[in-house]
Amino acid sequence: MSVSQLTSPVTVPTSSTPGRFGVYGGRYVPETLMAALLELDAAYAEAQADPAFHVELDGLLKDYVGRPTPLYFAKRLTETLGGAKIYLKREDLLHTGAHKINNALGQALLARRMGKQRIIAETGAGQHGVATATVCALFGLECVVYMGEEDMRRQELNVFRMRLLGAEVRGVASGSATLKDAINEAMRDWVTNVRNTFYILGSALGSHPYPTMVRDFHRVISIESKRQILAHEGRLPDAIVACVGGGSNAIGAFYEYIPDTNVALIGVEAGGRGTALGEHAARFAKNGGGVPGVLQGTYSYVLQNDAGQVAATHSVSAGLDYASVGPEHAMLHDSGRATYTSATDEEALNAVSVLSRTEGIIPALESAHAIAEAIKLAPKMGKDKILMVNVSGRGDKDIGIMTREMNLSGVEAKG
């Protein structure tokens, strides 16, 4: 490698360098991490080419994680909304309660292959932390999870679960004490302990090869759903809706349909409590403050002020409360292949109520953003149309927030 061969620029990156999604993605990290990233890239490529790796992963996904997840026709929700037929992809039924374990398991197998005994992870809502703690218990690996103190407070149940599973949860007080700050701290740990530590990153974010690797481990969602919808309906859906924080469940739910251009792909970001910078996490919203930039290793849309300082974010759901978004979503956004919309805190809370009472399914607040979009969209679609919603996680972790926000406690709880 010599200077003359260094060709990938900053402001207009090329798509030919590793880990590029159009102009987005890439590797923007402190040099100390580069050897580890190159080692990971090579180990991942080798594992992908090894049938034994897939046999073990698929076996555990089936017998331990509980795949395949059902694709369920939500009859009462469909009737209530009076439009498109709604199918729910039930990632909430997986072991640990969310899609996150698809990726945590894959990366843990990779860590074991590479002989790394110490695992670190970041977590927002705690679902990736719980999934990582779970697979570390399964494989006997040391596990440290970084979590913003604000998120520890609002997702306390998941903190207890991680500790019960034997993980050490380290609170992060810097910044807004949420997901972004947890990733900063995990990266500081990694740069310090890089020689013996594997960083299980939980969303389709960060430096190459993470966005590709995380997406690959979640592709199973759309591989299954495609087979399932063809079995149910004999055709593909008209639209697929998924919530987008970093974007791991959405990219998994979308991926196999990207060439099927008749299938609309709709990502739902956190609209929070307002449109001003700091009040939401809608990176793709027009005039919302999201513009391309570099955060935590990758080039993608970043909520920031005009001086390039990363903005605070707000969402009732900790898992969507993040200033940037996976680079593949940035590409899908710019190309128009996927569209991105948002749901407010209030709309998400309402969606929790609607899904709980029509289908007996309590979704995570993150997934409720996707349900909220379905509630808006389905009535505008004909009854012959099919709308698929990825229910990325279950809502048990959010019962405290729901109880407060929806006034469910006490004898006078609203019916």
């Binding site: 040099e31 050897a35 310090t192 570099v294 990363v310």
Partner: protein, 257 residues
């Protein structure tokens, strides 16, 4: 002009611009230069300094909270250049503020402000194509970081891409003071020197006069950052420039700082 290290080891002093305020940053930089610093690294504060330890994180947070912008740092650079024509000045930043400013616009403004070079913490050589081109066009020196974990082929590319000096990171990890210099630092400097005649400056954990002296045994310059930034944090308002001047003089004098 080329970066010149007048004595061995040369001394590079890092300051987080805007902490405690821009005027004080300028005064502290002048005090550092007048007491023996060869090069000032003007740190552009960033909201998410993931390569930095707690001391520089706090300084960065304070400077961002005061509204310090890249354009302000360029202004300070211009004032320093006018006041001290011979000193080396490097703009030290995370990538995002520069991307937001616009890379070509930044390079043009940096040159006009009299900066000698630029160090971007999260820029690796493979991604640096346009960056290097723009640096060349504006006659600015790109300084890259080299890490103990970098294998020789990466050190070669880093050395070839760098101008002015190569910044060797003494140990794996984030910035911060240490009681002892890392034992693998010398090995790294020797590995870099296989590939370049550029000076090699060693930083991360270099915080005392004894460290600086020890660095002089195998490297061309020492970079002191967190120790200075931590000192500024503890110093009473109005006394910072004096404190920095004395600290730098002590680093230069070989007395225990």
């Amino acid at each position: 002009m080329p970066i010149r290290f007048n004595k061995r080891p040369g001394l590079v002093i890092y300051l987080t611009a805007g902490d405690p305020d821009l005027a004080t940053t300028r005064e502290m930089a002048l005090a550092a230069i007048d007491n023996g610093a060869d090069v000032i690294e003007l740190g552009v504060p960033f909201s998410d300094p993931l390569a930095d330890g707690p001391v520089i994180q706090r300084a960065s947070e304070r400077a961002v909270a005061r509204g310090t912008r890249l354009s302000d740092v360029l202004t300070i650079c211009k004032e320093l250049r006018a006041a001290r024509p011979a000193a080396g000045i490097i703009l030290f930043s995370y990538l995002n503020p520069v991307v937001r400013f616009g890379l070509p616009a930044f390079a043009k403004a940096a040159k006009e402000a009299g900066a000698d070079g630029v160090l971007l913490t999260d820029m690796i050589v493979e991604e640096a194509g346009e960056y290097l081109q723009v640096m060349r066009e504006h006659d600015l020196m790109p300084v890259f970081l080299a890490a103990p974990t970098s294998p020789d082929e990466r050190l070669k590319a880093i050395a070839e891409a760098s101008r002015g000096f190569v910044y060797a990171i003494s140990r794996v990890g984030i910035t911060g003071t240490q009681t002892e210099l890392a034992s693998d630092a010398q090995g790294l400097v020797e590995r870099i020197k296989q590939f370049t005649t550029l000076p090699v400056a060693l930083g991360f954990g270099v915080s005392t006069a004894a460290h600086v002296k020890a660095v002089g045994d195998f490297a061309d310059a020492a970079v002191v950052g967190s120790a200075i930034v931590g000192l500024i944090e503890k110093t009473a308002a109005g006394e910072e420039a004096k404190a920095v001047g004395e600290f730098v003089a002590a680093l230069r004098g070989g007395n225990a700082a």
